[in-house]
């Protein structure tokens, strides 16, 4: 094995030019495919960390009503799901925060769809979310204040998305009425005041224009009691294993408050990435098509190269090399070139991605924002993309070895020797 590896290495450099062609082809293709996949990763990441992250801030664990998950799976309506909350959440948060593996515990609300009455006009379907001031890093870290200031703590304070300034013609300090109905169907008409405007750090105003208010204000809009929230999100310290902390907290919560349950984030919140998921599937299918064509290309180049290396193969036979040994040696050679090329492709892709991310291509064009999943182009890297790409190129190698080497190694030693003598 070592000998074939050594010879494969030597052959790569002995046939530099030929190896270079395959190397360049695979590098180019893996770079392009990597960039495609990282574009798809980036738009999903933009969406989940940006807009979806504001709606459902990603966390490690989530505390909810004990029956919430079952009721949702059973198809119960929002009306009954809204009643399933975590009551006395502050006391509960304190106890959970006492566990040393827990880094942060914060309440997360569900959006209330209601209207906004301002300057004699009413705007429907605006989403209201509540934040607990002082325990709102999940919101503060994701937004920028564009005008006015962040919520002061007054229960009637509102923080509006910056796009609403023009859309609704509203300014800082304006008195507005939040109108419609609470989560429980009661009529709602409460006076509020605009304290500031924000935009999400990764913005997508086409999809999301939420208004934030302190929890006291949110209670008025949603109809919840004080000290009652739908969810508590938990961030764990980096070194903690979520499984063991989950088990530990399950035992703890059973004794403190049997009315709640703690689960993994993904069990409770399903992020809505349908469109971006579909685009990713299209990209994956197209990479398959490319890999298929590339496979033929590489097979062709390899077999042509080996035909031209007939003398070399004949010499190996004369020196006593078996066909199996030669197959192993040439397969290793192709594998090394392809692997090295795909690694180079990935590295170039990573560099290109970091340069593009560094340049920070921002856009105000709504069409592009939809395509990017946010207001900036982001190329992200996921392990699954790298595994997919490397796996595809290994498949190319294996297929090439399987179908190209057999025929090319059918060289008569005598003919090869004769040719060498000439």
């Amino acid at each position: 094995m070592m000998l074939s590896l050594k010879l494969a290495f030597r052959n790569i450099f002995a046939n530099r030019q030929r190896s270079l062609v395959i190397y360049i082809a695979i590098t180019l293709i893996s770079t392009v495919l990597f960039l495609f996949l990282s574009f798809s990763d980036g738009e999903i990441e933009n969406f989940t960390n940006g807009i979806e992250g504001l709606r459902n801030p990603p966390a490690d664990l989530v505390v909810s009503h004990w029956d919430y998950l079952r009721a949702r799976e059973a198809g119960e309506k929002a009306e009954s799901l809204n009643k399933m909350t975590v009551t006395r959440f502050r006391a509960l948060s304190e106890k959970i925060a006492g566990v040393k593996e827990v880094e942060a515990v914060y309440p997360v609300t569900i959006p209330v769809n209601a209207g906004l009455y301002v300057h004699g006009k009413k705007y429907k379907d605006i989403q209201y979310l509540g934040v607990e001031l002082g325990n709102d890093r999940h919101v503060r870290d994701r937004i920028l204040i564009t005008e006015g200031h962040y919520l002061s703590g007054q229960p009637d304070g509102l923080l509006l998305h910056a796009s609403m300034k023009d859309d609704l013609g509203v300014s800082v300090g304006d008195a507005v009425i939040v109108t419609g109905s609470t989560l429980f169907g009661q009529a709602l008409a409460e006076n509020f005041r605009v304290e500031g405007f924000y935009r999400s750090k990764i913005d997508l105003p086409t999809v999301f224009k939420a208004i934030y208010t302190p929890l006291a204000g949110y209670d008025l809009i949603s109809g919840y009691y004080e000290n009652e929230v739908p969810f508590l999100h938990l961030d764990l310290v980096k070194s903690a294993s979520s499984e063991s902390v989950l088990a530990k907290l399950q035992t703890l919560l059973k004794t403190i408050d049997p009315e709640v349950a703690i689960r993994r984030f993904g069990d409770i919140h399903q992020q809505s990435i349908a469109v971006y998921g579909a685009i990713r599937q299209i990209i994956i299918s197209i990479t398959l098509l490319i890999v298929f064509v590339v496979m033929f290309g590489v097979m062709n180049v390899v077999s042509t190269n080996l035909v031209d290396r007939g003398r070399e193969i004949g010499t190996y036979y004369c020196l006593g090399a078996s066909r199996g040994f030669l197959k192993r040696m040439y397969a290793t050679e192709i594998l090394l070139v392809n692997l090295f090329a795909s690694c180079t492709g990935i590295v170039i892709g990573l560099l290109a991605a970091s340069i593009l991310n560094g340049v920070g291509f921002e856009t105000h064009d709504v069409g592009l924002q939809m395509v990017f999943g946010g207001d900036r182009l982001r190329l992200a890297t996921s392990v699954s993309s790298i595994v997919w790409l490397t796996g595809a190129l290994l498949l190319v190698t294996a297929t090439t070895a399987l179908f190209s080497l057999g025929g090319a190694l059918k060289v008569s030693p005598v003919a090869a020797l004769q040719e060498t003598q000439n």
Partner: protein, 535 residues
Amino acid sequence: MYLHKLVLRSLRRHRERGRRLSILIALCIAAIVFLLAMMDSFFDRYVRLFIDTTTAHLAIVHPDAAELKRKPWKRGAEGLLLIEADEDLLSFLRGIEGVVAAAPIIRTSGEFLVLNGDQQGSTTMVGIDPDDRQRVFPGLRISHVSERRDPDERDVPVLRRSVQFWEAIKVATDSITEGDLRVRDQELVRFEEQARDAFPRYFSRDAGGDRSAFLRSLDAALADPLLYRGVPDRYRQKYDWRLEEAIAAAQALGDGEKTEISRIRYVNKQLLSALFLDAISPVSESIQLGTPMTFQTSSPREVKALSMPVVIPIEFAGFAESMPLYGFESFMAIQPLKNYLQLGEHEFTEVAIRLADIGRIDSIKARIQEYLNGRGLNDQVLDYREMGAGYLPTALGIRIGLMVLVGLFIAAVVIFVTNMILLAVIKRRREIGTVVALGMSPREYALLFLGEIFVIVTIAWIGGALLGSIVVAVFAKFGMPGMVFFHDHLLYFDWSARHVLLAYLFVLPGALAAALIPVSRVLKLKPVEVLRETQ
């Protein structure tokens, strides 16, 4: 003059290598034809889809609505932005050459509510004359249309927007499992006792605390068409509309003609969940045709902080699928919608116009705008590009992605051709030396190489175009699956000779340019050296 003979002779001599290169280029050309067809089919069909189902070619709208249509992400205030469309305007529009149909429309948004007050999804309600609907929006997929049983029925028939994936009921409606139980621990034990006590004939006395036996018994009770007769009177002493409705539904089914067992089980599950409301999850009202419902929308004019909604009694008469993923349009006849909204005879939110030829859109648009201005109306005419601003980015994004891939395949051809010629130059050094000794200049030999590439690419193009066209034809016939942006998630391809020709025009110059790099080596060869090497 003799060069073409030499090209053909050379190709014959090196046919093995030429064949391989041809196959490879043919595959790349097939891929390019496929990608170009996919790119154009996606874009054209997607644009056609939103024209045919949602926007039409042109629309006359209120000036403030024009801003919202061009920027669909902007929020509009409650209340309808109405235009006046009288008979003169409609006659003028219908008289324009190239206008297939012009239909006044009322477009408003609202919610569907089932009779118990639960929401069953939001929608954009399009009020349009049923005769105009298919002429203006021929791409709408109307399905499951049911006949009205009672022509005097007051409920307005509505073609409901298609059911979205999140609206499908994921749980079985005809069985009871552990996932349906809302209780645990002591409450569960209490519920078991209540159920056994209420329906003793379905539960064996000695089952004890066996949970699965209890669930099996509960599930078995669902199959009994006469289950409602066993409901103890004490449960009906206090009036509960849910229970009374469930009993009435079970009675109608149990005493009526023989019906499907799954329907009986569904109704009985509703009955049990109404009876044990705290213990069994209520069965969601499924989306059904013919069921009385309401459509609730806001008042078209009265805008107050709190105002009464307009409630229209409706029933679903069928389904209408417009844009998959983004399509939220339901349809009803325009007159009843106008009556409920109390709109004047000539008041509409827009007039949708369908053209025979999309190429004439700019001239017709200008003519209509001129007419409106001439009458002193400040309404605006928008075309599908302005109204489809929310849809176009998807089509453009996919188009750009596929264009990059076409470029990748051209690059692949360039690399493979370079490799083949490079090898050929090395392999043919003796041959080159010989022909140079016989008087052929290196420039002529380089031309020979380029001639070979020209022939190989042309032959490969024929094969590749054929292969690509076959693949395109297959997708044209059966559709490409997984395309969630289209009806049935299928994208049907359109074959075009332009794609085949473009593939040739892309690949041939690329291949010739690629051949120039190794061929330039031939030009640098010194005949004396080559001859010496050959000896």
